[in-house]
Amino acid sequence: MTTPQPDLITMQFMGKNYQVPSGLTIMAAIEYAGYKLVRGSGCRAGFCGACPTIYHKGESHKLYTALACQTLVEDQMCLVQVPFVPVARKRYVMDALQPTPNIILQYYPEIAGCVACNTCTRACPQGIQVMDYIQAALRGDIQRTAELSFDCISCGICSSRCPSDIKHYPVGQLARRIYGKYILPRSQHLADRVSELAAGAYQDEMTTLMHLSLEDLKVRYEQRVFEPVVGQNDEHNAVRQWGSPVDPVDFQDDPQAILSTGA
């Protein structure tokens, strides 16, 4: 099978034309053109919001926003990177906050200026319904704000385009922290375990374990019984095949012992 060569296309970066192969991300195309990125490159996988990009295509007047690492370069794309959006976030002390419905409005009163124009939603590279989470924050529905905004990577494109200068992602961040701290119930068994540990539980067992010989430790290791996983009896289940729910450990484990419990 021969691999066809990618075609060359024209990209305009900061007003200059460059010939780059098609099939590259915008970020890779910028680098191909000779730029070594200092700003504008982070995780390179769509998680961190370091690479917001604004562009238009050819003759069309419409302005688009995207992440450079997650978008393929297209012919006649004319683009610029915006690695930083100045956003004024407020400081707060989580322990001192009262999680009332109006708390978010208190810290970010500008959200009352939302005109529901949806520019933020259109700008978001994560497909989040940004306007809807701001509206939820406006009416004090913290849970909805937290859930709708969860996929936010804080790239700031929304805030850069908002006609009311709303600071969307700090609003979402505050809502999520309030939700996680005050609205989601605390785990009782976690609290119990922390108390147990503080009172000295497991210390002796651990000390014994840490002083076992290598052979004895290996025996203990092989004696582990795996907790059942949903779908345990499924033919293709990893536990049946390999004695491990998902990902077997590397070869230096003695495989004979594990194989003998498998199918």
Binding site: C114, V115, A116, C117, D132, Q135, L138, R139, D141, P163
Partner: protein
């Protein structure tokens, strides 16, 4: 019967009793209601007070989304939301060039041309269900209660969106009479409560509310009924104690009184969510039975 309804921000935060009582009453009247999905703040003051076209995007977006959800009629509870949505709707219907600009800005798949009708719950009760039908459902008439209907502004003005005569409205009187209450009127019932001045110039609101409550007292009312959450907030929180040592007038939503007259469970009516406690009056007059009793 089925209605799509629009709550608005205040209903969900500081006027929850209006929503719970309204939903309970609608249920008792066999009306199925559905809160529309993905609604946003209607913008109220921003939308009404400025000429800036972008300020009308918020209410138009509500109507556009309802249209996308297949709805043709939207019922509101809050007077302010009603007025905002209705006026924005008129803008699109009567000034198509502005409508086009708004549609171009929203740039959704569907354009909005004013096809949705905006209604207030009172209109549904009066025109679709009818006060006679409501009267037939009353099991504990509000005997012994003298009610002062207060309209404020947004339900009646401007005339293009008003649901009743702006000078001499009768809708609340007719409704209260159907519930068996005694009704007293006064011209001050269509005078503004002071509205959003309560935010930073509440002396104005205090002045208005004092006058309104005084006139209502003079006419012999022992309770004020209304439909607007902002009027409610102003009248409930800024009423002065009468100088002659009498009681302040409790302020209730019309849906709560309908609920009482229907004998609905008191938890659904939110009667404990008021600043001026209505319980002493309601129990003292004994015109309404204590929970569990039957007439």
């Amino acid at each position: 019967m089925h209605i799509d309804y629009y709550p608005g921000c205040t209903i969900k935060t500081s006027a929850r009793q209006y929503e719970t009582s309204a939903l309970a009453v609608l249920h008792a009247l066999d009306v199925q209601s559905r809160e529309m999905e993905q609604w946003n703040c209607c913008g109220v003051v921003h939308s009404l007070a400025t000429d800036n076209l972008i300020r009308h995007v918020a209410p138009i977006r509500v109507l556009t989304r309802l249209q996308q959800q297949g709805g043709t009629e939207l019922v509101t509870l809050c007077d302010m939301c009603y007025n905002t949505l209705a006026q924005a709707n008129l803008l699109v219907q009567r000034q198509p060039d502005k409508g086009e600009a708004i549609n171009g800005f929203i740039a959704d798949d569907q354009t909005y041309g004013g096809q949705v009708d905006v209604l207030h719950l009172l209109q549904i009760l009066r025109d679709r269900i009818g006060f006679q039908a409501i009267k037939r459902r009353v099991i504990c008439p509000l005997k012994g209660l003298t009610v002062f209907p207060y309209y404020g502004c947004k339900l009646l003005r401007p005339r293009a969106v008003g649901i009743d005569d702006a000078e001499t409205p009768s809708i609340l009187r007719d409704l209260m009479q159907a519930l068996g209450a005694t009704v007293v009127d006064d011209p001050i019932q269509t005078c503004c409560c002071g509205s959003y001045h309560v935010v930073n110039r509440d002396a104005i609101v205090a002045g208005q509310v004092t006058k309104i409550a005084a006139r209502a007292q003079l006419q012999g009312a022992d309770i004020i009924v209304l439909s607007c959450p902002l009027c409610h907030f102003n009248l409930d929180t800024h009423q002065p104690r009468p100088t002659d040592g009498g009681q302040r007038l409790p302020v209730l939503y019309y849906t709560q009184l309908i609920g009482l007259a229907f004998g609905l469970p008191w938890e659904t009516l939110g009667l404990d969510a008021h600043h001026i406690d209505p319980f002493p009056l309601l129990q003292h007059q004994h015109s309404v039975p204590l929970e569990g009793e039957r007439v």
